[in-house]
C-alpha cells in the first residue's frame, strides 16, 4: 500500500509539472525550456506572499497562485508574442534565454539559502495514516488533490467552455482558427498563463514539502521525460506518462537499486521513442512539427 501511495505522490508531482509543458506545446508548438525556472518563480512567489501576508496562509496561497498566472501572461506579452510567426527553434531559444535570466534574477532577489515557506505559512507537514498501514504527508495529499483538481478543471475548461474550444482550435490549426476570427495572441497568452500557474503550483507544493532551493529547476526538467512518454500534445498523455515514469522509479527503488531511479525515466523515454515516438496519447502528425 505504501508503494502505491509513493507512486501516486510522485506521479502527481510529475503530472502537475508536465501539464505546463503540454499546455504551451499544444497551443503554440513551442517547447518551453524555461518551465523549471517558472516553476521555481512560482515557489518564490509563495515565499514572498507568505512573508507579506503573515498569519493569513490561504490569502498568501491565493496571491501566489494569482501571481503565477500573471507572470505567465506577462512572459507572453513581454517576450513570446514577438516569437509568433518565427521558427520554432527561435522560440525555444527564447525560452532558454528567459530561463537563464530568471535564474539569475531569482538568485539576486532571494539569495542562495534554502527557504521554508511551510514554516512561514505557520503550517506543519503532518503525517496522515491510511488504510493498509500506509502513510502520506499532508503536502503529499495536497499534491494528489491539486493534480486531480487541475486536470479536472482543465478537461472541463477545454471541452466545455468557449475559450477552451478556441484554445483547442488554435492548437489544431492556427491559420484556420485565425481566419475564423479567433484571436491567437489571446489564446497563446492564456496558455502561457495557465502553464505557469500549474507549474508554479507544482513548485509551491514541492517547496512546501521539501523546502525551496535552486535545485527546483532541475526537478522541473526531470519531469520532462514523463511529458514525452505520454505525448507532448496530450493532457491525458501527461497523466499516463507521469504514472508510468513514477511507477518505474518507485518500483526500482523498492525492488532493484535506488541508483537506477535517476536514469529510469530516460530508459522509459528511449523505449517509447523506439516503439511509439509520438508517445502514448500523442498525435502522430505532431512528430514532424517537433
Amino acid at each position: 500500500m505504501q508503494i502505491a501511495v509513493n507512486i501516486a505522490v510522485l506521479a502527481s508531482i510529475y503530472a502537475l509539472i508536465c501539464c505546463g509543458y503540454v499546455l504551451i506545446y499544444r497551443a503554440t508548438r513551442v517547447l518551453s525550456l524555461a518551465h523549471g525556472e517558472l516553476m521555481m518563480l512560482g515557489a518564490y512567489g509563495l515565499y514572498a506572499t507568505a512573508s507579506l501576508f503573515k498569519g493569513h496562509p490561504l490569502i498568501a496561497l491565493a496571491a501566489a497562485a494569482g501571481l503565477a498566472l500573471a507572470v505567465g501572461l506577462a512572459v507572453y506579452a513581454a517576450l513570446m508574442w514577438r516569437m509568433t510567426g518565427e521558427s520554432v527553434l527561435a522560440a525555444v531559444l527564447a525560452t532558454i534565454a528567459l530561463g537563464i535570466l530568471l535564474r539569475g534574477a531569482m538568485m539576486l532577489a532571494f539569495g542562495t539559502l534554502t527557504q521554508h515557506p511551510l514554516r512561514d505559512l505557520g503550517w506543519e507537514n503532518a503525517s496522515i495514516g491510511l488504510p493498509g498501514g500506509a502513510r502520506i504527508s499532508a503536502v503529499g495529499a495536497a499534491l494528489i488533490l491539486s493534480t486531480g483538481l487541475v486536470y479536472g478543471g482543465l478537461f472541463a475548461f477545454l471541452r466545455g467552455t468557449r475559450w477552451g474550444m478556441r484554445m483547442r482550435a488554435a492548437g489544431q490549426n492556427p491559420l484556420l482558427a485565425a481566419q475564423r476570427g479567433i484571436g491567437l495572441h489571446g489564446i497563446y497568452a492564456l496558455s502561457w498563463g495557465l502553464a505557469t500557474f500549474t507549474g508554479g503550483l507544482a513548485g509551491m507544493l514541492i517547496a512546501l514539502d521539501a523546502g525551496l532551493e535552486s535545485t527546483l529547476v532541475i526537478i522541473g526538467l526531470k519531469a520532462f521525460p514523463a511529458a514525452l512518454v505520454g505525448g507532448l500534445d496530450s493532457l491525458v498523455g501527461a497523466l499516463a506518462g507521469s504514472l508510468v515514469v513514477a511507477s518505474a522509479e518507485v518500483l526500482l527503488i523498492q525492488y532493484v537499486d535506488p541508483l537506477l531511479s535517476d536514469v529510469v525515466p530516460f530508459f522509459v523515454l528511449l523505449a517509447m521513442l523506439v516503439v511509439r515516438p509520438w508517445g502514448l496519447f500523442g498525435t502522430r502528425e505532431e512528430l514532424d512539427r517537433v
Binding site: Q2, I3, N6, V9, L10, I13, Y14, G104, M107, G111, T112, L113, T114, H116, R119, N125, S127, R135, S137, G140, I206, D209, A210, G211, E213, S214, T215, L216, V217, I218, I219, K222, A223, E249, V250, I253, Q254, P258, L259, S261, D262
Partner: protein, 386 residues
C-alpha cells in the same frame, strides 16, 4: 596632447602595478551562483569580509590583502578558466577553491603548472591533503572523509543501549557514496549490523520512496553523510512514515537553524565547528564583521569562511615581503592557527599533513524539554594519520 595622454596612461599603468605589488593577492574560484551556491557562497563572502576587516586594521605585515573572487557556478570548465585568469592576469600567491569536487581536477592542473599552492576552503578536502600530502594542496574545511564516519559511529556506539541495526543514506555523488561505503564497512568492525543503504540522486522531488525502503529494514540508527538536503529530507520522510529511531548526520553550515526548525530529540548532528549559540568572543567578532560587510547570511553560516580568513591571515603573516608563491607555500607547510574556539583546537599544517593534525568533533541535538539545542558530546579528538 599625445604626449600627455601617453603620460597619463603610463601613470595609470604604474599605479595599477604598484597597487597590485602593494598587496598580497589571493585568487578564489567559487560556486557563487548556480544550484549549489548556498553551500559555498557564504564561505567565500565570510572569508572576504574577514580579510577586509584585517585590511581595516592595517593589513598583514603592513600590506593589504586583495581577494579576487571569480564565480565558477560549480562548472569544471569555468573553474579551469578562472584558475588560468587568476594565475596569468592577477598573479595570485595562492589559489582557493570553494566549489564542487568536479572543479578540482582543472584547478589542481593549473596550480601544478604554475607551482602555486591550492587551498580548499569550504569544499570537500581531497585525499591529497591528508598525510602524505601533495606538496601544493591544502584544506581547512570542517568535514573530513573517513574521520567523520569514525566519529559518528563511535558516538552511535557510545549511545546505544541495545544492539545497533544501522541504516545508511547518501546522495548519489562520488564523495558521499564513498564515505557511506566506508561507514558501512566500519560499522561491521564496530559490531553493528548494517541493514540497508539508500543512495538518492541529486535532486529528488520526493524522498519518501527511499525512506520507505530504509524504514522497512527497521534500523534503530541511521547515519547519513551528504549535502544537507539529502540528509534532512530522508530523515523527515522517515519520520512521516512513522519511524522512531535515531538519526545522526553531518552538521553543515545551516545545522544550527535546522535543528531549531526540525525540533526532534533523536536527530543528532555532529561537526567540527562551534555553534554560534556558544556565544564565544569570536562570535561577537564574526557578528561585527558580518554587519560591517552587510552580509546576507545568518551568522551561523559564516564560521567556515571565518576559519578560512584566519588561516589566510596567518599564512600571509609568515610570508615575508615581497611575497612569492614559494614563500607562501613555505609558510603554509608550517602553519599553526589559533581558531579562537571555533574548533576544538588549533589548525595545524605540516609538510606531511595539509589537512590538520587533529580533528575535533562535537555532537548536538534538539532538547525538546528545554526547547533549545543541547550539546550531547563535547570535543573528541581524532589524530589524523594515514
Amino acid at each position: 596632447m599625445k604626449l600627455r595622454l601617453c603620460t597619463i596612461a603610463a601613470g595609470a599603468l604604474f599605479a595599477g602595478a604598484a597597487l597590485a605589488q602593494d598587496a598580497y593577492v589571493i585568487g578564489v574560484s567559487g560556486a557563487m551562483t548556480g544550484p549549489v551556491a548556498g553551500n559555498y557562497a557564504p564561505v567565500v563572502e565570510a572569508m572576504k569580509a574577514y580579510l577586509e576587516h584585517v585590511n581595516g586594521k592595517g593589513g598583514v605585515n603592513g600590506r593589504k590583502v586583495r581577494v579576487v573572487v571569480l564565480d565558477d557556478q560549480a562548472q569544471p570548465s569555468r573553474a579551469a578558466a578562472n584558475a588560468k585568469q587568476l594565475l596569468a592576469q592577477e598573479k595570485v600567491l595562492m589559489l582557493l577553491n570553494t566549489s564542487l569536487s568536479s572543479t578540482y581536477a582543472p584547478m589542481v592542473g593549473e596550480s601544478k603548472r604554475a607551482g602555486v599552492p591550492l587551498y580548499f576552503a569550504g569544499s570537500v578536502c581531497p585525499k591529497e591533503t591528508y598525510p602524505p600530502a601533495d606538496p601544493l594542496q591544502f584544506c581547512s574545511t570542517a568535514f573530513g572523509a573517513n574521520l567523520d564516519s569514525q566519529a559518528a559511529l563511535a558516538f552511535v556506539r557510545s549511545q546505544a543501549k541495545q544492539p545497533v541495526r544501522i541504516g545508511f543514506a547518501a546522495m548519489a555523488i562520488p564523495i558521499a557514496r564513498a564515505e557511506i561505503d566506508y561507514a558501512e564497512g566500519l560499522s561491521k568492525t564496530l559490531g553493528m549490523t548494517p541493514v540497508e543503504k539508500q543512495i538518492s540522486p541529486p535532486p529528488t522531488p520526493d524522498y519518501t520512496p527511499f525512506a520507505t525502503k530504509l524504514k522497512d529494514a527497521n534500523p534503530n540508527w541511521v547515519f547519513s553523510w551528504s549535502p544537507w538536503v539529502s540528509q534532512v529530507r530522508t530523515f523527515e520522510a522517515m519520520r512521516r512514515l512513522g519511524w522512531s529511531g535515531s538519526y545522526i548526520t553531518w552538521a553543515h553550515l545551516n545545522a544550527e537553524e535546522e535543528l531549531a526548525r526540525i525540533r526532534d530529540g533523536q536527530f543528532y548532528v555532529f561537526g567540527t565547528n562551534a555553534f554560534v549559540e556558544d556565544n564565544l568572543p569570536v562570535h561577537a567578532e564574526i557578528r561585527a564583521v558580518a554587519a560591517r560587510a552587510n552580509l546576507r547570511y545568518p551568522v551561523s553560516y559564516l564560521t567556515e569562511g571565518f576559519v578560512a580568513g584566519l588561516v589566510i591571515e596567518n599564512a600571509l603573516k609568515n610570508t615575508p615581503w615581497p611575497p612569492t608563491p614559494q614563500k607562501a607555500l613555505a609558510a603554509m607547510n608550517r602553519l599553526k592557527v589559533d581558531l579562537k574556539g571555533l574548533r576544538g583546537g588549533p589548525l595545524e599544517w605540516t609538510k606531511e599533513n595539509h589537512f590538520r593534525t587533529r580533528q575535533y568533533y562535537r555532537v548536538w541535538r534538539w532538547d525538546p524539554a528545554k526547547n533549545q539545542i543541547a550539546r550531547v558530546q563535547d570535543w573528541q579528538a581524532i589524530e589524523v594519520k594515514r
